[in-house]
């Protein structure tokens, strides 16, 4: 189900795209008349889809056409049926998990669009690989301004730095910990949690930056989620666009929290079932969804403050990532056993201290940079951007040259 690097030519982080396609097409695009822009974006989308999706391109294109041709109630069938067919038959499905929600959301919004407008929204190229899943009501092709482009370049620099320097480095750190003892298992899990954040939020930054250069303001997908003080708040800060989609297209239509506790629980169950299945058809994801269904239900219905606090939130979120970093249920069980020193698991061995000692400063730095303390750097003053952009790009490029890069994890969903 992963992005087939072997069959794809381009991604948002390809040097050819970032240093060639992006500046050239952006310069060309800004001089187009406003009426021609949806068509230009559609052409760009199709070219990027062909280059980025490889073998998945024809299937993606077929769903794109179906999504436009059959709006309204048919979209739900296309979404669910298509998703199942693609998943069950194990067809090349790069980008599909982000396309199908957009099809459904657009059909629910009822906003009529021309083919060019619909395609510009459904397959907006920066969002093809890993989202964000844009609200169709908020998607607009505005005039690209120099200020927006400058902000876009800054966000791309931040995203590349997050991806190449931190995410890929954290993945190596994650591999370094054997996870055989309790101490090592917790260190491994923390490294994975930070890797996941930097990988996905790095992509989102690049997508937001690219969108801004083309005059499209994409929604923030991450808002320092590890600072959340409740499970509900965590998922409003983590992959927020997916949460918003399920809120509008599943939770609210099922009654939300306005029709009593039973309906709230039902709606929550449906949301978490869909969220789990969106990630993949596996027991691990179902258990992950089940765990957060229970936790968010308890928060919403039983706790007056609706908050379980920061430490419990981080604790449960970390436990949830066990289902992501282990491929099977039995391996997840084994990992949990090591986390809680069950069976004959040792608390620590001498071998744990070397990787911990050499990786701790990096992990602490990553943890700091994932905290709201760096929120002002989202849109800093010009002087910081002018100094920071070349610095971040240099470090990102250096890290890319040193270690290559792994495909984005969320591109595999």
């Amino acid at each position: 189900m992963s992005m087939q690097k072997g069959s794809a030519y381009l991604s948002l982080i390809s040097p050819l795209f970032l240093c060639g396609c992006l500046p050239v097409t952006a310069a060309f695009y800004r001089h187009l008349p406003r009426t021609a822009r949806p068509y230009a974006i559609t052409v760009l989308n199709l070219l990027f889809l062909w280059a980025a999706l490889g073998k998945a391109f024809p299937i993606y294109l077929a769903f794109l056409l179906l999504g436009w041709l059959f709006p309204g109630k048919w979209a739900a069938f296309i979404w669910i049926g298509g998703f199942c067919v693609v998943r069950v038959l194990r067809l090349p499905s790069a980008g599909m998990a982000f396309l199908l929600p957009r099809i459904l959301w657009q059909s629910r919004s009822g906003k009529p669009r021309s083919m060019a407008e619909a395609f510009a929204y459904l397959a907006f190229f920066p969002t093809v690989e890993c989202g964000p899943i844009t609200d169709p009501a908020a998607f607009a092709l505005a005039d690209p301004t120099a200020l927006a482009s400058r902000r876009g370049i800054w966000r791309i620099s931040v995203g590349l730095f997050k991806k190449f320097f931190f995410a890929d480095g954290l993945y190596r750190t994650y591999l370094l910990f054997g996870g055989e003892t309790t101490l090592s298992a917790w260190a491994k899990l923390c490294a994975f949690a930070l890797y996941l954040y930097f990988d996905f939020s790095g992509y989102s930054d690049i997508a937001l930056g690219t969108g801004a250069i083309f005059g499209v303001e994409l929604p923030e997908n991450f808002d320092f989620p590890y600072a959340a003080r409740s499970v509900g708040e965590f998922f409003r800060r983590w992959h927020a666009s997916l949460g918003r989609f399920f809120f509008h297209c599943v939770y609210l239509p099922l009654g939300g929290s306005k029709r009593g506790k039973m309906r709230t629980w039902t709606a929550l169950f449906a949301v978490w079932l869909c969220t789990a299945l969106w990630h993949g058809f596996s027991v691990n994801y179902l258990l992950w969804g089940g765990m957060f269904f229970l936790l968010s239900g308890v928060e919403k219905c039983l706790l007056p403050s609706r908050r379980i606090g920061w430490l419990p939130t981080v604790f449960f979120v970390l436990l949830g990532w066990v289902f992501f970093c282990t491929p099977t249920f039995s391996e997840a069980v084994g990992f949990f056993a090591r986390l809680f020193a069950a069976g004959d698991t040792l608390l620590y061995t001498r071998a744990d201290f070397y990787p911990l000692g050499t990786q701790l400063p990096f992990l602490l730095l990553a943890a700091f940079l994932s905290s709201p303390a760096v929120r002002p750097l989202r849109d800093p003053p010009f002087a910081i951007v002018a100094i920071g952009t070349p610095l971040l790009l240099t470090l990102a490029l250096a890290a890319l040259l040193a270690g290559g890069h792994r495909p984005f994890l969320y591109a595999s969903y």
Binding site: Y9, R150, L360, T389, A398
Partner: protein
């Protein structure tokens, strides 16, 4: 206005960078000792390998990572006294498969088959490992000792001389030095039935050798290549290409791969004989560790050196050449990271 200038500056910079990569005259990455990647639509390596100021950027990344306390860069760990060690991804499953192939070969062969496995620096230079560093290699050595093969223990003698401070490993390369190979030669004597000689003339022929670990770390370790010489009247024939060379190819010392001064050098099948003499024949199944050992063994045997990673012929046919014995001499990292011995199954 300043935003517009900013955007144009970075757009121009990006295009210049790309043009610099596309039109780069680089044909060889000297620091990494490899050719840059060829153009492929599906690969970013073409551009990253030709990136302007590539080496400076790599050094920057290394310095930042070391400053963060990582003590390693690109998988290469810093040990004490300037030694570098590159971790390989190993598994007992892969090792077991190789050992099973070797057992099958030993069962079919009509001559004794000995196994001698060389550890890496983490196995041998224990006193130079960072504090608390545990390479977790015991399962591999246990699998070897329980394999049922006639195995010559190299770990203990090499640890002994390694821990006494002898220069048996290059600081910046994963291979044994000639001195290290000499200690292996001594350890093999009893099993292979020879008395090790000591009358060698040792001559340092290169003092600025940068091996694979040093290149990964982008540093020079000024390693010395020394040759143990006694008589050069050998005929070294690469049976794959038909090329004949001397025992030590001194011209290779100034090439991009100075280690090729030793015989074999990434060839699949090499024969070392002494013209005019009839001597017992020894089949040596080896990886690049065999390069530095071959000159010592050649003093006692006519050698057939077979590197299964590059050999494409029939081992069955080759093994019918009247050998007195066979020796499988490989690095543990090779045996436990790649299934290289499957050609030995007849």
């Amino acid at each position: 206005m300043k935003d517009r200038i900013f955007c144009r500056f970075f757009a121009a910079l990006a295009l210049l960078w790309l043009a610099g990569a596309i039109f780069s005259p680089v044909t060889f990455l000297a620091d990494e000792n490899r050719a840059p990647a060829a153009f492929s639509m599906a690969s970013d390596a073409f551009f990253t390998d030709r990136a302007p100021a590539r080496t400076a950027l790599l050094r920057l990344c290394r310095n930042v990572e070391l400053a963060l306390g990582k003590n390693e860069f690109a998988g290469t760990v810093r040990l004490a006294d300037g030694y570098l060690y590159t971790k390989e991804i190993t598994s007992t499953i892969t090792l077991d498969k190789n050992l099973a192939s070797l057992r099958a070969f030993a069962a079919e062969a009509d001559f004794p088959v000995y196994t001698a496995v060389v550890g890496n620096k983490a196995d041998i230079l224990l006193q130079r490992l960072p504090q608390g560093y545990e390479p977790c290699r015991r399962p591999l050595w246990r699998a070897l000792s329980e394999s049922g093969l006639s195995s010559v223990n190299l770990l203990a003698p090499l640890r002994e001389v390694g821990c006494s401070g002898k220069y048996i490993f290059y600081r910046g390369d994963h291979h044994l030095t000639s001195l290290g190979a000499y200690y292996v030669y001594r350890a093999l004597g009893e099993s292979l039935g020879y008395t090790p000689h000591t009358d060698f003339t040792v001559r340092v022929v290169k003092s600025d050798f940068a091996g694979s670990d040093a290149r990964r770390m982008l540093t020079g370790t000024n390693d010395q290549i020394a040759l143990f010489r006694y008589d050069d009247s050998f005929r070294v024939e690469n049976k794959d290409t038909g090329e004949v060379r001397e025992l030590y190819d001194l011209a290779a010392l100034d090439s991009t791969d100075p280690y090729a001064v030793f015989p074999v050098a990434d060839a699949g099948w090499v024969e070392i004989t002494r013209p005019g003499e009839t001597r017992p024949k020894l089949l040596v199944i080896c990886d690049s560790f065999g390069d530095s050992l071959a000159p010592f063994l050649a003093r006692h045997f006519d050698l057939t050196l077979l590197d299964p990673r590059y050999f494409h012929g029939s081992v069955k046919e080759l093994s019918e050449g009247g050998y007195a014995a066979a020796l499988c001499y490989m690095g543990m990292d090779t045996l436990a990271s790649r299934e290289v011995l499957y050609p030995l199954r007849f």
